[in-house]
């Protein structure tokens, strides 16, 4: 168990280090996704299954995709085709793949042995989280919704002006 | 009859309001009618009221009419109330009669002026204020009239406002008299602090009980009142404004700066005689001031070449006589001289106005001459006035009033031979400068041609004034000539009679003879110097000492220059230096420091996001560090 934690933690740190030192944005994003996956594994190990699922679905799934969209929008044109090709080389995806493989191996191991399903004090079920969320933290939920709305409006507003700018290109990103 | 008292000042005020509101749109005859009617009706009323008072004296010899309570605050309750007694009766009669005839004169003299209605409005305002001053039952109302006449004086000196010199003269008059007025205001405050009232009768009634003879507060009160009086009456040391005040039209000089307003100081001292009696030092000061002023002013009058300035200095000198009389306790003599002076000096100014207008606005004596034949009526009336001013014996009013003053300056308990001698020397000088003026203007060879002759209104006024200038004196005559004492008897209802020290008959005759002879010598000297030996005079003027003295006297003994260097220039320079308010520098400095600091802090605002992030991080680390630190050392 300890080893599993340490392996995941090491993977997270290594991937993050690569993410902030990478010279290329896509590179960095791939490493960061791996880092997120590693953190998700740690969540799993800590007994926070719900958080682990959210980490993968929302963080790695939604937010990072947004990043990738933007990166792609930054340099459109003929050069991007070539760049696309460049990205498909193994040098780019080898490192993340290895780390992801390690994490996958860990997961498979847990699934096989059931060691991850630890019962005890640390286990917090999603139902508990939900109750807390819509009980004492109701106000926080409302505030979070306001924040999200503000983000939505802000992004829309910026995008609107982006589209209207003379010489600017019509880009409709309806994020969030 | 007496109940109409309030109408006397109210009528001129009404005329003023009417003219100020609508005078601009009226035709000139209507303006003249309203302007003269206001004061004229008031004069008629004043005479009626005066006779009524004289024939049927009310209880206590004073009739008081209270109109309303002016203000009431914490025991201070001055009223708007008028008081008629012998003194104010003499004053209102003089003021309204003189005022009416001067206004009559003005209807013609000022014809064609742009500010015709403005002139009559101001003149009526003046008459109203002057009547308020003399009729006031309490000192605060008196102060109202006092400032009102000062205001009118200011407005009328600056009547021809286009010329900056006139405006400056007006400002000077206003400011200098205001210095005296402020002293008067403080005097009022002192009196109120000690008597809890400003009613003149109450103060005079209570003062002998409240104050010892010669006590400090009495002296202070008297001194402050005197300050007001010397300001208004152009006595030393505040006499400097009057010669410049001649910038106004001649009727203004006649009414305000000769006959009435400048005598207000005399009136004030006479009115508050009780206070001065309690402060003998101050009363002596009054006498000395009067004596010195009359000599100084007479000497200055000798050196002037502007006809109106001669008359202005002579006015100062004659009021010096009145102060001399007040100083020795000869209250009624002072008031008598005021009355005669009002008539003859108004006459002289009006005559001078005719001469000036006849020669096309020429003021210089040396460019006049020989006008005796061209302007005969003016000549004779001017001569009557001049004779009265010089106090030529027996036939003129000035002689009787001046003789009374000289006699009492000698014979009064407070009098002294020195004061008498000063008065006598003044009489000689008066004869000298008066007839110098007469000879220069009307005799000798002709100067400038006459372009305007006096008309009916002017002539009437001149004749009436000549009559008064010669005859008013018969109301009061020396015992040696004829025992007529109508005037002092009448005034004794209000003013205390002077307890004269017995003088031997021989001395008395000697005194009378001196008073008879001194003006005659002066007049003959004038004749000798101006007509007989003009070269001699010119030689004196050209000699070094002579010309220095001439310039010194021309400039009124250098008082103007003295005040200019001591007060005016330092004040103006100081004010100008501090125009931008030195205190603001402090706040400006603060603002400068703040903006420098802000500039410095702006430097940190580099616009670099990463630097900001570093700052945030460093702040967080420091904050966490502090928390850790204090956790370790609780």
């Amino acid at each position: 168990m300890d080893y599993a934690f340490y392996i995941a933690a090491a993977a997270a740190l290594a991937a993050t280090l690569r993410a902030i030192t990478a010279s290329h944005a896509v590179h960095a994003l791939l490493y960061f996704i791996v880092s997120l996956l590693a953190v998700a594994v740690i969540f799993l190990l800590l007994g926070a299954h719900f958080a682990a699922a959210l980490e993968v679905i929302v963080y790695a799934g939604a937010i990072m995709v947004l990043f990738i969209f933007v990166v792609m929008m930054l340099n459109p044109g003929p050069r991007s085709v070539q760049r696309e090709r460049h990205w498909l080389r193994p040098r780019i995806w080898a490192g993340p793949a290895v780390l992801a493989a390690v994490l996958a191996a860990e997961l498979v191991y847990f699934a096989a042995t059931g060691a991850g399903r630890s019962a005890g004090a640390g286990q917090v079920e999603p139902a508990e989280v939900g109750l807390a969320l819509f009980g004492p933290y109701l106000l926080g939920v409302e505030m979070a919704s306001v924040v999200l709305l503000a983000g939505l409006v802000g992004a829309y507003h910026l995008g609107w002006h982006l589209g209207r700018r003379p010489g600017g290109r019509e880009t409709g990103e309806g994020e969030a | 009859m007496l109940n109409g008292l309030w109408l006397i000042p109210a009528l001129p005020f009404a005329a003023f309001v009417l003219l100020a509101a609508a005078g601009k749109r009226m035709p000139h005859p209507a303006v003249a009618a309203i302007g003269t009617a206001g004061t004229g009706l008031s004069a008629v009323l004043a005479l009626l009221v005066g006779f009524d008072y004289a024939l049927r004296p009310p209880a206590g010899n004073a009739f008081v009419q209270t109109l309303w309570t002016w203000m009431a605050a914490g025991g201070f309750t001055p009223e708007i109330s008028l008081c008629l007694d012998a003194l104010s009766a003499v004053m209102i009669a003089t003021v309204t009669v003189v005022g009416f005839f001067i206004l009559l004169y003005s209807t013609e003299h000022m014809a064609g002026e742009e500010g015709y209605s403005r002139f009559f409005a101001y003149m009526n305002l003046f008459v109203g204020s002057m009547l308020t001053l003399v009729l006031a039952d309490n000192l605060l109302l008196l102060y109202l009239g006092w400032e009102g006449v000062g205001l009118c004086s200011y407005l009328l000196i600056g009547f021809w406002y286009r010329d900056v010199a006139n405006v400056r003269a007006a400002n000077k008059a206003f400011i200098v008299t205001r210095v005296g007025d402020t002293a008067l205001a403080l005097g009022l405050i002192v009196l109120f602090a000690h008597f809890d009232t400003l009613s003149i009768r109450d103060i005079l009634a209570r003062s002998p009980d409240r104050w010892l003879q010669g006590s400090g507060p009495a002296a202070w009160a008297a001194l402050l009142l005197l300050g007001g009086a010397v300001g208004k009456s152009a006595q030393l040391p505040l006499q400097v404004w009057l010669p410049d005040a001649m910038a106004g039209p001649s009727p203004v000089s006649a009414l305000i700066h000769a006959a009435t307003m400048v005598a207000a100081g005399v009136y004030l001292v006479a009115r508050m005689h009780g206070i001065f009696t309690l402060a003998p030092e101050v009363q002596a000061l009054v006498a000395v001031l009067g004596a010195v002023t009359l000599l100084l002013a007479a000497a200055s009058a000798l050196a002037q070449s502007d006809i109106k300035r001669v008359l202005a200095w002579s006015t100062i000198s004659q009021i010096g006589y009145m102060f001399l009389a007040l100083g020795v306790g000869a209250w009624s003599a002072a008031v008598f001289h005021f009355a005669t002076h009002a008539f003859f000096k108004a006459l002289l100014f009006l005559g001078a106005g005719v001469v000036i207008a006849a020669l096309g606005d020429e003021h210089d004596l040396h460019r006049m001459g020989g006008l005796r034949r061209e302007l005969p009526l003016t000549f004779w009336s001017f001569l009557a006035g001049a004779a009265s001013l010089a106090a030529l014996p027996l036939v003129t009013a000035g002689f009787y009033s001046k003789d009374l003053i000289l006699y009492q300056a000698f014979a009064s308990p407070q009098g002294s031979p020195w004061l008498w001698a000063a008065g006598l020397a003044g009489a000689f000088l008066t004869g000298l400068y008066t007839f110098r003026m007469v000879f220069l203007v009307f005799f000798g060879k002709a100067g400038l041609p006459v372009i305007r002759k006096p008309g009916v209104a002017v002539s009437i006024s001149l004749v009436v004034f000549s009559f008064f200038a010669l005859t008013v004196g018969f109301l009061q005559m020396p015992a040696l000539i004829a025992p007529v004492t109508v005037f002092s008897d009448f005034l004794s209802r209000t003013l205390p009679v002077l307890p004269v020290v017995a003088v031997s008959p021989a001395t008395e005759i000697l005194l009378l003879l001196d008073a008879l002879i001194a003006p005659l010598i002066g007049a003959s000297a004038a004749w000798w110097l101006t007509l007989r030996r003009p070269g001699f005079t010119a030689r004196i003027e050209r000699s070094r000492a002579g010309s220095a003295l001439h310039r010194f006297w021309l400039a009124g003994w250098g008082f103007d220059a003295l005040y200019e260097t001591l007060v005016v220039r330092p004040f103006v320079r100081m004010a100008r230096l501090n125009r931008d308010d030195v205190l603001d520098l402090f706040y400006g400095g603060l603002a400068w420091c703040a903006s420098r600091l802000s500039y410095r802090l702006c430097r940190t605002q580099s616009g670099s996001v990463r630097r900001y992030a570093l700052g945030v991080l460093a702040g967080a680390v420091i904050a966490l560090g502090l928390v850790a630190w204090f956790k370790e050392f609780p």
Binding site: M1, F5, A12, L13, T16, L17, I20, A25, A28, F32, L36, V39, I42, L46, A48, F50, A51, L54, V58, Y59, A62, I63, L66, F67, V70, L74, A121, Q123, V124, V129, A132, L133, G140, A144, S145, V147, L148, A150, G151, L152, G154, A155, L158, G159, L162, T171, E173, E175, A176 | C602, T604, Q605, S606, G607, S608, V609, R610, A613, L614, L617
Partner: protein
Amino acid sequence: MSGIPLQSGLVVAGLLFGLGAAGVLFRRDLLFILLSLEIMTNAAGLAFVTAGALWGRPDGQVLFIFILAVAAAEVAVGLALVLWLYRRTGTLDVDRANRLRG
């Protein structure tokens, strides 16, 4: 949870946070800065969840969800700004985007 050292969870969170902060400080590309910010929020989330696990309470995960919401909003606006900046200046170098300099 006998084996998992909860202190180490916090240490990992701290290290991740530090890496994120270093990224913010040392990268000049706005996109990377944004990425590093995400790393930092993620690290904070990890710290919350770890602490929640320590006490066995759901609050840690609740706050993680809030962080997630904030991060989502932040990324949405942040990326829009990135695009804006790029359109206006043609670069993502923050050191050149210093028009707010005082």
